[in-house]
């Protein structure tokens, strides 16, 4: 196949979108030739090449029409990945949603600044205060995408908003790894590039042209991909996040007025987290309490919307947003691959090889298309070190795979509670440490009097590392860590994630 055939120009009518679903090992390059276009709310600059890879599934939307130049690779013998143009999108609703949230923001800010603005008639209906939005919905409804679009539009308003994006879906990974819950203020539009960093990537020492690569999240380690593995722990971490977000907003009137957007896993909405019906939406209630939610957005689920209206409609606004037709049903193996991509991305950074056709087009000698020619690229070097068993204190919360309390015989008490930190002895056979992904925690409170038993549960994550080798005889293990800082003397938490460097 020649490069001519690989490069194609698409003309998009206003309010349509170009959708693509990439296969593994496929790269897509998009260049905006004319008009205005955005990927999930992040505007594209004209003439700049944007690369997508690692099975990315996304869409370029245009409000006013545009011309795109698209160049792609695919390995020989494979069928090309899917691509098509759709004129049925829920973007109008998302934009209306954004405008309604903006009303809440400006009103909240004007109150905070003691310069109240006369509120025109007819704009009631919204609860007071800045928008604290909880986005829920079934699996594959486009919840994260909806959050992203709303956040991006807020950032693009030119008002210096910094909405707090909270990810409580441990299967998602957010800014870091799967198994975490995290919060991060957004100041520049979140780019979409690969599923490995769905919300942009966090601060690295590598310079990147994207300001959003300097995201500084607050991260807690849950350790599992599924909510049902330890809902109690998740509940506690969500409350921790909420407290810290509230404290931060006390320092930051503009950030506070910008509001909060909380992205949730589908299991919050399906009610599989608790046995009894009154506990069905326990974690949704947790989020509402922790983040002072005043708007619930239900994406693409009629019945859930009705249920939410019934439960919370009296206290807060419940809005239903339509699901985009572009949402792809994802299977478990895809999610597992994405988890692998994410861990690899955390350690090694992202590098997407541009399609060869593109290199031929632009690649005059001296300005090769590699490295920072594409501003989305950042390669990182983790490092491998050997540490003594004694250098590190490792815990597992709840002592490994445990059955939910309800599965125990009636009257039986659990020996290890779900929230109890259980020490892990690397020397013991079957410790499961090899290839395990561990979260390095912030240090314990230096003040003895402030200590408490389960403090480990409330420590935030500073970094992640992977145990790549365990030598029981020498009492040493080899770990792969993202940066040279020492991890000796620290506390680490184990989860149920494993990863092997290929």
């Amino acid at each position: 196949m020649t490069s001519d055939e690989q490069t194609k120009t698409w003309v998009l009518e206003p309010e349509t979108e170009y959708r693509f679903e990439l296969d593994p090992d496929t790269t897509l390059a998009i260049k905006l030739i004319k008009g205005q276009a955005e990927v999930f709310g992040a505007e594209l600059a004209e003439g700049v090449v944007y690369l997508f890879g690692l099975e990315c599934k996304a869409a370029v939307y245009t409000w006013q029409g545009c011309t795109l130049e698209i160049c792609r690779t695919h390995s020989a013998g494979r069928r090309p990945s899917t691509e098509y143009i759709s004129d049925e999108t829920p973007m109008a609703a998302y934009m209306n949603m954004h405008l309604a949230l903006e009303q809440m923001r400006v009103r909240s800010l004007s109150l905070a600044q003691n310069s109240p603005i006369p509120i025109p008639k007819g704009s009631s209906g919204a609860p007071p205060g800045p928008p604290h939005v909880l986005v829920i919905g079934p699996e594959n409804a486009g919840k994260t995408t909806a959050c992203k679009i709303i956040a991006n539009y807020a950032v693009r308003a030119g008002q210096d908003w910094a909405p707090m994006f909270v990810n409580v879906d441990p299967g998602e990974g957010g800014w870091t790894l799967p198994g975490t819950v995290s919060a991060c203020p957004i100041t520049t539009p979140i780019p979409t590039q690969t599923p490995a960093n769905p919300l942009g990537s966090t601060a690295t020492s590598a310079p990147t042209a994207l300001a959003s690569s300097a995201l500084v999240p607050l991260v807690y380690w849950y350790g599992h991909a599924e909510v049902r593995q330890n809902p109690l722990l998740l509940d506690r971490l969500i409350r921790n996040l909420g407290e810290n977000v509230t404290s931060r907003h006390d320092n930051d009137p503009l950030g506070k007025s910008s509001g909060i957007i909380v992205d949730t896993p589908s299991s919050f909405a399906t009610g599989s987290t608790g046995p009894a019906s009154e506990k069905k939406f326990a974690l949704i209630q947790t989020c509402i309490d922790a983040f002072h939610i005043n708007v619930i957005v239900v994406v693409g689920h009629e019945k859930l919307n009705v249920e939410m209206q019934r439960m919370f409609g009296s206290k807060l606004s419940v809005i239903k947003l339509p699901k985009s037709g572009g949402v792809v049903d994802l299977d478990i193996s895809y999610r597992e691959r994405v988890h692998r991509y994410q861990i690899h991305n955390y350690m090694y950074g992202t590098h997407i090889s541009p399609p060869p056709g593109l290199v031929q087009q632009q690649g005059a000698p001296g300005s090769t298309t590699e490295e920072s020619e594409f501003n989305t690229d950042s390669r990182l070097s983790p490092l491998s070190t050997t540490i003594n068993f004694n250098d590190l204190t490792i815990y597992r919360i709840g002592g490994g795979a445990i059955a939910p309390s309800s599965a125990l015989p009636i009257g039986a008490q659990r020996i290890v509670s779900e929230l109890q930190p259980v020490p892990v002895d690397p020397a013991q056979k079957g410790s499961g440490l090899l290839n395990s992904v561990l979260a390095l925690l912030a240090p314990l409170n230096p003040d003895d009097n402030e200590r408490y038993d389960e403090e480990v549960l409330d420590l935030s994550v500073v970094a992640f590392f992977v145990v790549t080798a365990v030598d029981v005889r020498a009492r040493k293990m080899t770990v792969l860590k993202p940066s040279p800082g020492s991890i000796a003397g620290r506390i680490a938490l184990m989860g149920s994630f494993e990863w092997q460097d290929q």
Binding site: E43, A45, V48, W63, A92, A93, N96, M97, L99, Q103, V106, S110, S115, P120, G122, S123, S124, G125, A126, Y153, A157, G158, Q159, D160, A162, P185, T202, A203, S205, P207, T208, A209, A214, V216, L218, N244, S247, R248, L254, L321, M347, P365, G366, S367, S372, N375, L380, N390, T393, P443, L444, P446, D448, D453, V462, P482, S483, G485, G489, R490
Partner: protein, 664 residues
């Protein structure tokens, strides 16, 4: 020996033995009949490369200066100055043996104009050593200054330097120290010329800062005040006043040096030339490879023409990291002068007596200007917020499912036409009012810094940073400058790493450098990775080849030669800032004479200074803080005993660990 990719070969012959080196060096030195930058540079490079022949260099220089007629002496002194500042070891020590008689002898022979140039040079020697100390030692400096100006100024300088006291305290100290200098007990006379020389140095420094950052109203004011002062001094003021001005000037210099500036914001729009590196080719900038060992490059520029009094330097030396002017320093100088009656509030110099010329109208004091600007910015911003709020609230949309899903979006233009200024690199949009333009400017600066850093450190390893602690995260908004993009994380960079390849070639030379276009690529548009502008190609008759103008090829990439040099210089700026920060408290010399960077500690302090925050914020610093917190931890709990007690093993961590961590 380091490579000099774009330099003309510094010297053609390669002298291998002492006698041929002596012959070669002396021959080149004798060519130095006028102040010629290339010759001075070549000589300095030669001295650097052959520092084993330092005795010969010293001999030749001394003999040359003594032999040549008066009008040729100054250029030779510039050679001496360049060598000792840039290479320092072992030359400074060698020169210090004869510098005092040599300097005085020459001083006595030259004309008044040259004298003032020599005085300026002498002032820079005060802090010319890499450590920020006297270039040729305290003894030589004191002796020279005493004989030129007849006072103990360097002793004073010493005592001032050592303290960070209030100006009053400094004055007291100065008083004490001048009393203590028993050899010349009563006489503490300061000559006009000395004050003028120092004023010029400070003034030039500020003016350079202004060139680097033309939007700095504060610096503009400082320059005005300094010019005013200078006029005043020229007209003649009393001994006491001279002394006061002098001590204030120095105090200001110290403070300026001590206040760590953020990297000077260089206004770069893709379409605009960067003022500094695109300065006209007459720039007397001069850069040289400095360390014989690590060959990092630092600009020097103490060469005539760039500071003349009545004609403010229109061109700067390679950008000097002048601190964005210190408010307290300059305003306290001005205030105290007003109080002392030296300058009346309406800025007529009292001490100037019956002068006929009218001083310019008084500028507002910097504080006022700043406050006004801030107030204005706040008002503007509030106005923008209010008008936006009006627009938004004016929309008829309610937060209900029906409204949101049924309506047509009413105002898409808020995302586009409302914000007409768009960044060409990332697509982010800004208002087109003054505040928006400022933000856009900052935004472009951020891109520029990022691109520059990406080039600077290309190929070196980066890594994911550690997340910051909860407390830092919570208090981040207090220190974060929004809209600028965070200046995140310094890379782990040793001084050697910042080695630029031949930075500091004069602009003209840079511009004349070309890269031959590979056959077949003539029609292609190549853009410079730094400024993102297209390189111009041109057909050269004499070579019958297409070339890219103002271009260099580094690691298979084509850069604008000027951009690349700028990039390299900025790398050294950072290291210079570090050096200044490391507590030397050195006054930056006007000439931008290299102050050798010190390899230890400064990273952390630099970072703090950058953020100017009460709390450490970047992950590295958190890490440091964390490491420190762990130190000394004692675990009270008996229960989960295992391992935690081992935290105490960290208690013995030596302080040096800090450095390692923060450098990580």
């Amino acid at each position: 020996m380091p490579a000099y990719p774009y330099a003309h070969p510094p010297f053609s012959a390669q002298p291998s033995d002492p006698s041929s080196f002596r012959r070669d060096f002396a021959a080149r030195l004798s060519e130095l009949t006028v102040n010629s930058r290339p010759i001075i540079q070549n000589l300095s490079m030669m001295a650097q490369s052959y520092n084993r022949y330092s005795d010969i260099v010293a001999d030749c220089l001394q003999a040359h200066i003594r032999r040549v007629p008066a009008w040729m002496k100054l250029p030779a002194f510039y050679v001496l100055d360049a060598i000792s500042k840039n290479v320092y070891d072992p030359y400074a020590a060698k020169f210090s043996v004869f510098i005092v008689p040599l300097f005085l002898e020459a001083y006595s022979q030259v004309d008044p104009q040259t004298r003032s140039k020599m005085e300026e040079m002498l002032v820079t020697w005060r802090t010319g050593a890499p450590s920020g100390k006297e270039l040729f030692g305290v003894a030589a400096q004191v002796s020279l200054e005493r004989q030129i100006w007849g006072n103990d100024s360097s002793v004073v300088a010493e005592s001032v330097r050592d303290t960070r006291l209030a100006p009053r305290a400094r004055r007291r100290l100065k008083h004490v120290s001048s009393q203590q200098s028993s050899r010349r007990p009563a006489q503490v006379s300061i000559t006009k010329s000395q004050v003028l020389a120092e004023l010029d140095v400070t003034l030039a420094l500020k003016e350079q800062a202004l060139l680097v950052n033309p939007y700095d109203t504060l610096a503009t004011n400082q320059v005005n005040v300094l010019r005013q002062l200078r006029r005043m001094v020229e007209h003649g003021v009393s001994q006491e006043e001279l002394q006061q001005i002098l001590s204030q000037l120095r105090a200001m210099g110290r403070e300026t040096a001590a206040v760590p500036p953020p990297p000077p914001p260089i206004p770069v729009a893709p379409s605009l030339p960067v003022p500094v590196y695109n300065a006209p080719p007459t720039v007397p900038a001069l850069s040289q490879h400095v360390h014989a060992t690590n060959s990092s490059s630092v600009p020097i520029g103490l060469y005539p023409g760039n500071v003349s009094v009545n004609q403010p330097p229109s061109s700067s030396a390679a950008p000097i990291p002048t601190a964005p002017a210190n408010i307290s320093g300059i305003s306290s100088l001005f205030d105290s002068l007003v109080k002392a009656g030296l300058v009346s509030a309406n800025s007529t110099p009292v001490g100037a007596g019956m002068n006929t010329h009218t001083p310019p109208p008084a500028p507002d004091t910097p504080d006022e200007v700043k406050a006004k600007a801030e107030q204005k910015a706040r008002d503007d911003r509030l106005e923008v917020q209010r008008s936006y709020a009006g627009k938004i609230l004016g929309m008829n949309i309610r937060l209900t499912t029906t409204d949101i899903t049924r309506q047509r979006p009413q105002n898409i233009s808020l995302l586009y036409e409302y914000l007409p200024v768009q960044c060409k690199q990332c697509g982010f949009r800004f208002h087109d009012d003054s505040a928006g333009k400022k933000q856009y400017q900052d935004h472009l600066d951020m891109h520029f810094r990022q691109n520059r850093r990406a080039k600077e450190v290309a190929g070196r390893g980066h890594s994911r940073s550690w997340f910051i602690s909860i407390n830092d995260w919570i208090s981040e908004p207090l220190t974060d400058v929004r809209g600028k993009g965070r200046e995140v994380l310094t890379t782990s960079r040793t001084n050697t790493d910042s080695t630029p390849n031949g930075s500091g070639k004069r602009d003209a030379e840079l511009r004349s450098s070309v890269v031959v276009v590979p056959p077949g690529d003539e029609a292609k548009n190549i853009s410079c990775p730094v400024c993102k502008e297209t390189l111009k190609s041109e057909f050269r008759e004499e070579d019958e080849e297409w070339v890219w103008q103002n271009a260099v090829k580094v690691k298979d990439k084509i850069y604008h030669a000027t951009c690349h040099a700028e990039m390299a210089t900025s790398a050294t700026l950072v290291s210079k800032l570090r050096a200044d920060e490391s507590g030397m408290g050195a006054t930056r010399s006007r000439s931008g004479t290299p102050e050798r960077t010190t390899p230890s500690t400064p990273i952390r302090s630099l970072e703090q200074s950058k953020v100017q925050s009460p709390r450490p914020l970047s992950p590295e610093r958190t890490l440091v803080a964390d490491a420190l917190t762990v130190v000394g931890v004692k675990r009270k709990a008996e229960g989960d005993s295992q391992g935690i007690g081992r935290l105490e093993t960290l208690t013995g961590t030596p302080p040096s660990k800090k450095v390692v961590l923060s450098a990580a």
